[in-house]
């Protein structure tokens, strides 16, 4: 009984570490998706851009990435809120 409690207690630690590292990967993923969309729409923001036809070919499939890009752009000047969100305040 006591052993089971200790085991559960320790496994929760493990789960906590796992989730923290996955959160990190998830944030990295969103940044990469944001950057991917920025790159595809680079000509709109003055970045080096792939040929326009390539951006057009990918446009119909970029819904998620564009949403992330727009959301990141909107909250660009509210870093405090983003950080608060990251540390779950």
């Amino acid at each position: 009984m006591v052993l089971k409690q200790i085991k559960d207690f320790l496994s929760q630690f493990g789960q906590g570490f796992k989730e923290a590292s996955i959160d990190q990967i998830q944030r990295e993923l969103e940044e990469m998706e944001n950057a991917f969309a920025l790159l595809i729409c680079g000509s709109l923001s003055g970045m080096p851009a792939p040929p326009a036809f390539l951006s057009l070919c990918l446009l119909p499939y970029m819904e998620r990435e564009l949403k992330i890009m727009f959301s990141k752009t909107i909250f660009l000047d509210d870093k405090l809120a983003v950080w608060s969100d990251l540390v779950e305040l």
Binding site: A52, L58, P60, Y61, E63
Partner: protein, 301 residues
């Protein structure tokens, strides 16, 4: 495997006339020929004294002619994208796609892509013909068309790698946290539409690169005149295409007879050359065949 001849050179050097001479020569040899122009200022039908047509026309047995309407290909490409994008972004009322696409038509490099798209279709559609003869648009545009598959491939390589990294991370996050990434977002490489589109584009660009650089399939014929500007432009064509590994098969020094002592001619000394004197129009079949006899060798065919 059929063969493709491209005629390159400055405007007015005689590309259309020389491409016509080759088309009729090949017909005399009983070969099937598709002869087309992708120059926005077409003049194949003017040369043949026939009424212009936007469609492929069989002007005699075994000889098909087309003045390719690049605008039509561009319109079709944009309509296709618009249709797909509207399905996904229909909730975005503010995005007026109709208006947007009218503007996109004039985006830099769209015309080059439309030409490339047209060429790809033409190569595949006329695979059954023995020879394809392509009369090209002015140098600047044509060089950009030739370079597009090489430049685009660099972009595709990077974007594909980036996409792979994104999908790998999506899979990790989904595996542990069971996150819903929203409509259309896929985890599998084979189901991700962005990844598939990048692969499809890469395949197309590879196909075009293979066609352009295959010396057994594609023959580039440079037409120059004995005048300084045409020679300098010809030099630029050779140098630019060399960078992409696209060789010039033969240089046709057309409209000779004037002074031939231009030092700019020396640049072409290492390339096979043929001299063709000035022929005044009109150009009936007999004249075109006479012109062809001055330069076409069976070794090219």
């Amino acid at each position: 495997m059929n063969k493709i001849f491209f005629f390159l050179g400055k405007g007015g050097v005689g590309k259309t006339t020389l491409s016509a001479s080759l088309a009729y020569y090949l017909r005399e040899k009983n070969k099937t020929v598709y002869w087309a122009s992708i120059d926005p200022a077409h003049n194949i039908y003017d040369l043949l004294s026939l009424p212009a047509s936007p469609k492929v026309q069989k002007i005699e047995a075994g000889l098909w002619v087309e003045e390719i309407d690049v605008d039509r290909y561009l319109r079709r490409f944009l309509e296709h994208i618009q249709e797909k994008a509207q399905k996904v972004y229909q909730y975005l009322q503010i995005l007026n796609l109709d208006k947007m696409f009218k503007v996109i038509k004039y985006t830099p490099a769209m015309e080059e892509y439309a030409c490339l798209y047209a060429l790809k279709e033409v190569f595949k559609k006329h695979e059954d013909k023995d020879y394809l003869i392509i009369d090209t648009p002015p140098t600047g545009l044509m060089l950009r068309i030739f370079s597009l598959p090489f430049v685009t491939e660099l972009w595709l390589k990077e974007l594909r790698h980036w996409r792979e990294e994104i999908l790998k991370r999506r899979q990790i996050v989904a595996h542990i946290k069971h996150v819903d990434f929203g409509p259309g977002a896929q985890l599998e490489f084979s189901k991700d539409k962005v990844f598939n589109e990048l692969n499809a584009q890469q395949k197309d660009m590879q196909y075009l690169k293979d066609v352009f650089t295959n010396p057994k399939k594609t023959f580039l014929i440079l037409v120059i005149n004995p005048d300084k500007l045409s020679l300098l432009e010809g030099k630029r064509i050779v140098e630019t295409l060399n960078k992409f590994g696209i060789p010039i098969k033969i240089v046709l020094l057309n409209k000779t007879g004037h002074s031939m002592e231009l030092k700019e001619l020396n640049f072409f000394n290492d390339l096979p050359q043929k001299k063709i004197p000035l022929f005044e129009g009109p150009f009936p079949k007999q004249v075109l065949l006479k012109i062809a006899s001055l330069w076409v060798e069976d070794a090219y065919l």
